[in-house]
Amino acid sequence: MLVEHIVVKEVTKRFPGTLALDKVSFTVYRGEIHALLGENGAGKSTLVKILYGIYTPDEGEVYINGKKLVITSPRDAVAHGIVLVSQTPTLINDLTIVENIILSLRHYNLFTRTRRVYSEVYSVLESLGLGIDPNTEVYKLTYTQKQMIEIARALLLKAKVLLLDEATSYLPLTEKKKLFDFLKKYVKKGNSVILITHKLPEALEISDRITVLRKGKVVGTVEKKKADITVIRRMMFGDTEFAPEAIKQRESIGNGVTLFIENLWVKGELGEYMVRNVTLSVRKGEILGIAGITGSGQIELFEAIMGLRKVERGIIKIDGVDTTNKDTGFIRSLGVGYIPDNPLEHGLSIDHTLAENIALCPKYSSFIIDWHAIRQDADRLVREYGIVTPSINTPIKLLSGGNLMKMLISRELEYATKLLVAYNPTRGLDEYTANKVRRNIKEKKAKEGLSVIFASEDLDEIFELSDTIAVMNSGRIVGVFDKYRATRDRVEELMVM
């Protein structure tokens, strides 16, 4: 017997200049995992944020267990058993795990000692396979651990409905499997899960039903048994063609070395070495992919290359120029593009407009800003990358997460002439756009001899994009493979070794 758990009826939500949701209706049954799919900016995040009380709908109704509800804050949502876990961990870095969790537990009063929750938190963390002391400050945790803390929090809140907004995107494979097993058990107890993901196979693997959104409207809901990947792709992207990735890669690699790193040592946030004795080189027109679980030192390595983090020992040369501990402006002026791990904080200025964000690129920043050229370039990038925005003069904080990423990638790819340093270059992008970005990178490498060093937690991407694969583990490079000689098993083994 199917019992309606959540019913969304004709919900509309507008943001300045955009219609994010247009009369969206859909139903989640008790005990099901319901996947919500759609391209970037389709309105998936907006929809779950409405369920979680972060936004209130302009029109329409939400029913939980048959009762009409107006959810005006996350507190409200939690009280009704709805908890959101998003792609970016919603935790306060300077507080401990216990402190973060007690903030959400309403049944404790103001003067409850945090210690009282300690054992409760500890046992839930343990059940999720995390052996962390709950008194650890959150900033010391890796991304994966933070995501698991969020899930632990949801469990402690006795969530009946778990909203997972891209929460599984960057989990390493083993953690993801554990989590999926857990979710299957979880819904058997009469709870429900709404899962947003960009990975269609993932959605097909775990969900019971799939609803596809497109440009703020529901395209349809299908049962897993009747769905296959091409049907869903068509629902998501219409008749947009998926160009096959047929760019000849090997020939484009030249002999010159673009990036040369020797015996590099770099310290992390807490003063311990995160990059240990790394030696790497990237040839002209070569794409080097760094595989590794989050927190293996990739971020610190990239920051050192970009002059954002002090090199303790070792040498970095870009195109023959010694750039060790040089400032970022100088390094970028050599033609180096950069996609940082936290694009919103380090790559974009979200209070400024799209055109202004493009103007930040060094090539425009002479004494007088050439706004005419910037606007032309901005218009072109919006067209070429399909960035959904009301205009180039819109503050980019009004753009969806995927569109922000597109804007950053387009700018950096456009700017980079010698080297592109990228961390998770397709983070948060839908399948179509991610493919397109990979193709653009390959094209630029083939035509202009661009060298690329990138890191990704997504092994599929590593294998698809790289010419050479390096595996990083605990700050060291533990293996370098030619793409055609590397096997997935071997790489995964080295990652977690």
Partner: protein
């Protein structure tokens, strides 16, 4: 014996500075930049004085009303800065000047009456009796209590969360406005208590402008302790000592301006030391201190 004399003479001013700085720290830990502190301090001093005159030096009423007036001004600051997208600095400084003015309006008539009746206010702390020891006990006790609340209870986690990242705090289920109001009531009550101690235990006289600058010293005490309740005990003592013995410092030959600037030089030195050492992770400024906080804006 010399130490006892130093400790006993420094006690009242230390108590005043410590209470006010502790209150200030709590307000700022919740994310509200408190530039109104000097004004609030001066206003509460005037209220304590006026009420002491009108109640014939009642030991309780002046303190209660002084604390209430401090809370009232504090709530205006906390409410406007947390509910509306306004600058914390602008509101804080405007309130400071408003309070300076009000302190005159409230204090001057009482001063006139004092001229007529000769009523004395306050309670001198004699170094001979051991009452001054009690003041230290109060300071240390409060220090530990507030440290416990901030580091070991849910309320403490809520206050710190509101100051670090109010949007995330809100998403985690904290009512940031309510938390800041709670922190504001507690904090400004302590500031009012500090001001009452300043008037009734330390100066025991009033003329227009009494207390001006001392709120800023409390501000500096709080800053140079990294807003830490226990470290604040040390910095409050140090600042009270520097102020109490400023004439002795002058006697050494230091120019007067230099002597006046000593508390601030100490504050800057302390902050530089914190930032240059591993202490910075424990004693850093709340990340969202003084930043306007709107809930309604679209976040990514």
């Amino acid at each position: 014996m010399y130490i006892v004399q130093v400790l006993s003479t420094t006690a009242p001013l230390m108590l005043a500075y410590y209470l006010a700085s502790l209150g200030h720290s709590i307000v700022e830990k919740s994310g509200v930049l408190n530039l109104a502190i000097d004004g609030v301090f001066v206003l509460s001093v005037a209220v304590a004085f006026a009420q002491a005159i009108y109640t014939w030096n009642n030991p309780l009423i002046p303190v209660v009303i002084s604390v209430a007036s401090s809370i009232a001004v504090g709530l205006i600051l906390v409410y406007t800065t947390s509910k509306l997208p306004v600058s914390h600095g602008a509101i804080g400084l405007s309130l400071m000047f408003l309070c300076y003015g009000l302190s005159g309006v409230i204090g001057v008539p009482a001063r006139t009456q004092q001229g007529l009746t000769g009523q004395e206010v306050g309670y001198p702390i004699s170094p001979v009796s051991s009452v001054w020891v009690l003041l230290y006990i109060v300071v240390v006790g409060l220090g530990f209590l507030l440290h416990y609340i901030l580091e070991r209870t849910k309320l403490g986690a809520m206050i710190k969360a509101s100051g670090e990242d109010p949007l995330v705090a809100e998403a985690l289920g904290v009512d940031v406005l309510k938390t800041r109001i709670l922190a504001g009531v507690l904090g400004f009550a302590l500031i009012g208590l500090g001001a009452s101690a300043f008037e009734l235990l330390y100066t025991r006289i009033w003329r227009e402008g009494t207390g001006i600058g001392h709120g800023w010293i409390a501000f500096a005490v709080s800053l140079s302790s990294g807003r830490h309740p226990l470290l604040g005990i040390i910095t409050a003592f140090l600042f009270a000592l520097l102020y109490e013995y400023r004439f002795s410092i002058l006697a050494v030959g230091l120019p007067r301006e230099m002597a006046d600037a000593l508390p601030y030089i100490t504050a800057i030195t302390a902050m530089v030391i914190y930032m240059a050492t591993p202490l910075k992770t424990k004693l850093k400024t709340p990340k969202s201190l003084g930043k306007p906080f709107f809930k309604e804006e679209r976040t990514i």
